[in-house]
Symmetry: C2
Subunit: 445 residues, 2 copies
Amino acid sequence: MSNKLIEPKILKGFQDTLPNTALQRKEMLGKLELVFSSFGFSPIDTPALEYTEILLGKGSNETDKQLFRFTDNGGRDVSMRFDLTIPLARFVALHQNELAFPFKRYHIAPVWRAEKPQKGRYREFIQCDFDTIGTESKTADAEVLGVISAALLKIAVGHQIRVNNRKILSGVLDSLNVKERSVSVLRAIDKLEKLGREVVEKELVEEAQLNPDAIQSVFRFIELSNSNLDSIALFNELTSFLSVSELGLAGVKELKEVYQRAQDFGCNIEDLVIDLTIARGLDYYTGTVFETKLKELPSIGSICSGGRYDDLASLYTKRRLPGVGGSIGLDRILGAMEELGTIKKKSSPAKVYVCVLDDMARQSSIQLASQIRTAGVPCEVALEPSALGGQLKYADLKGIELVVIIGSNEIANKSAPIKNLATKEQTSAISFSEIPKYILENFLK
Amino acid sequence: MSNKLIEPKILKGFQDTLPNTALQRKEMLGKLELVFSSFGFSPIDTPALEYTEILLGKGSNETDKQLFRFTDNGGRDVSMRFDLTIPLARFVALHQNELAFPFKRYHIAPVWRAEKPQKGRYREFIQCDFDTIGTESKTADAEVLGVISAALLKIAVGHQIRVNNRKILSGVLDSLNVKERSVSVLRAIDKLEKLGREVVEKELVEEAQLNPDAIQSVFRFIELSNSNLDSIALFNELTSFLSVSELGLAGVKELKEVYQRAQDFGCNIEDLVIDLTIARGLDYYTGTVFETKLKELPSIGSICSGGRYDDLASLYTKRRLPGVGGSIGLDRILGAMEELGTIKKKSSPAKVYVCVLDDMARQSSIQLASQIRTAGVPCEVALEPSALGGQLKYADLKGIELVVIIGSNEIANKSAPIKNLATKEQTSAISFSEIPKYILENFLK
């Protein structure tokens, strides 16, 4: 073995997760999982590696270039998963006889994309998806909105869910006789908020080849969305606007049902907005579609999007599997919370640090730390005695707020003071046996 | 797009995690994380892909063959991580100036090995490691034993931690003048329990080339371990056995300290056993070594092993980083619990299912389910009304024990009965507003 050091570098577009970020992410994931579970969504997992043939599925060139793809030792063409949707489709097709439908699952796992790395975009990131598979019931759509509302309330971010139905947009196109160009039209409309009316108009002419009358109709329809009508008036207007399109009327009926039902699932009506311009880029949504914005930071874009699709796994099974689901953008939310200053810098899960000043204090300190833990409070204890200054600095660096200070004097009196590093205040000496209770009652309520 | 279906198969040696297993694993991981956190260990994560050069490090042929290795689109030689130890070493070397030492971290993440798949061994599995880095303090070793004890108590598996110190074995070899063959001797001894005395003796002659006197000494030493002496008497015997070896005496002193200190960290003395034959296969352990067995199923082998090492990251940095840590075998524990029948078959996290018998009952059912959730009880509600039989079957399939049954009669009386699918008992009708409290007090205490 040579003594030359290997440079400890990581791959471009990848990142380590240090304790501070890992703690924040775990806290957030824990809350999301509690909410998913509370609605009866079950966790699943799938392999990181799949047959390339499975992942490519419909096989767009764009996806192909994004794959980490290679030939394994057995000569198989394999790739790392680039999303959780295709693995879900493959999973449901493979295990359909072992699952009870409607199948409600969530999946939180890393995915890999060999994209050009950009600020805030990595080649490895965690996706968080949840879906209800195998039902046409619009109650499932409403439940998905209820889950989002509960999840974002739980992680305490003010939000607005903007909901629409693809059939309404399709109905509009239908009534304009441009159904066969609907994908182009929907793609153009989807860009309205980001790029403005002019760009969208240009795209409607050039890409979707709409005539001026049709374009005017499209924008009249969009204005309905910004009309500040209450929901009942809006649904009435829509019904008359779409009276010639059966599909459009079906969409209005579905949207109305989902909008009303979502409230029974706990959605706050003020946080739920009908937005007729939301189309979602993906072609496979067929009914409900939604996006979610942060009230305090709408500029970062949608933090949770999704919708209803007609058939999840048509590539892998003949069984038709309609469903509805959403995807929560963890990194985007964490980034926003950091920007808004609503998260603490903390690199340790411990809430208490027990300082040990001299050898005499060691055993009692370790035992006291055990008792603090038993009371349910995470607690780190100094491994070796050392000067107080260095220990306080260590606790502060790790973001541990409370410090119990134990030396030979404290051992003699079986009591020790607690210092709060945030306020710099220090209590008088508290009896060892009282310390766990004291901490719970005075610092952690 | 052709209509030919793609077969929804997965790669050999890989597996999907279905809800039942995923729920069990999540529950266990949640408990382990609580314990790690309670001792002040912080989570971290590292990329699934690393430069092959980093992962190969010392570069054994055996490791090389196990790698999922390929050239990425940028022409880099990359591999999927095959353990969490090398990524930890690379991580600490890279971030040493951002971390506070002693650095206490845990890491729960999948690893990939291109091994021949066998029963119970997969090419992708989750590792669960925790370590304290950057301290020589034997208190850290004792704390690691405390963590294991607390973790296994938390997941309710009866266990026995068997602890030793490599310096004691090295001291024995030292006193026999076979130090330069120590790796072969330790490897042989490590096989004693599994393969018996005869095999080990043969290996000591053939591989380690010990003479009969030395072999007799080795076995006299091993017998000390089986002598049923109490710990104080054992330490005295060891001190006299090893009186000619400074290294051996240092090992006895360390083992004594760790054994005694572990109790301050909450280790139950009955579950902590000194076992002088434990060497651990890996060459890099230099002090404390331990294994952990299930009391009720010792045959499955060690469920948590580890030890102290002199220098974690010498391949990547000149800074010496001694440390101590352990690795918990999740799949082995889950397998054992399954074998012992201590886990429930359950594919839903929900504890309550609200059946909906007719259209009239829908809104109230959804609202009641929301209230049950608000009370902290996971609850799934039927998306569409249907016959009771099918709904009961669905709840039972998913392992949801409690069912609230709501139809138009129940709506009229604003009260509904609760059926326990495990006992087949059904309560009389309970007022809607009382149901969440009733469930908490009568079924979930």
